[in-house]
Symmetry: C2
């Protein structure tokens, strides 16, 4: 390709960044449709997964585990408290820290919510062989690793 045509070889439809953004929005849309009836939303969902696995984590721990910014987590937790999904208790040894606990309501949603998420993943991966699904997971990890460096 001649040097003068160089700026033409970038097209949106073939850009991985564009496709990834579109895919993420489609995932979120599909998940939202299934968990909205449960009173959940896409932002609260990963927090709930972390807490279903281990309750009483600090905001800092959730931030590290989920890879969002501290301010994002603070806002998400505020909404979750407002909506009756979590409560916060003072840390016994460190007055800066609050620990996060699930309400009974939130505890009761685990089964239905994880089933909804599995359904979305299965639908997204429909028609892919086991090898393709594994290849996709491996490529996701690789790309995430590449973009996470420093």
């Amino acid at each position: 390709m001649p040097e003068t045509d160089k700026q033409k070889d970038f097209t949106r439809s073939r850009s991985e960044g564009y496709q990834v953004n579109l895919m993420a929005r489609l995932f979120a849309h599909a998940l939202q449709a299934r968990i909205k009836p449960l009173g959940l939303s896409t932002g609260t969902f990963p927090v709930l997964l972390a807490l279903w696995e281990r309750e009483g984590q600090t905001q800092r721990e959730l931030v590290t585990e989920l890879g969002v910014e501290q301010a994002t987590m603070a806002n998400t937790l505020s909404r979750m408290e407002r909506d009756g999904l979590i409560t916060r208790r003072a840390h016994e040894a460190d007055a800066r820290v609050q620990t996060v606990w699930l309400t009974e309501c939130a505890k009761g949603l685990e089964q239905a919510a994880t089933e909804a998420a599995s359904e979305v993943n299965d639908r997204a991966m429909a028609g892919l062989s086991d090898e393709e699904r594994h290849a996709f997971a491996a490529l996701l990890s690789k790309v995430i690793g590449n973009l996470s460096e420093t």
Copy 2:
């Protein structure tokens, strides 16, 4: 796996939806770092790509082409107008329609901006063979297709 363990087989770290969301945020972060010095942002970028290819499109055409909601596009175009990237002109035949045009400033950014985006894609795909990169693109298309149905 026994029936009673069923709810435990969903883990965030292995959920495609979670990984895809993380990957999309990393892509956006990497792109933002490179185009912010040009006065651009991630939301305006695909609109510019579409207009660099063909100016004078209507908002409706941009919506269809980029796969965002009409309200999202309206807001994005407002910010772009505010920031001196586009102007809008009345359509000669239909008073409901406005066509979107690039400012001289926006026209001058094409080369630098597409280079920035290529750089992000290359970094994300670093260490992948040509076959892997093609496989990734094919899987993206497949998954997008699956989630786009109806």
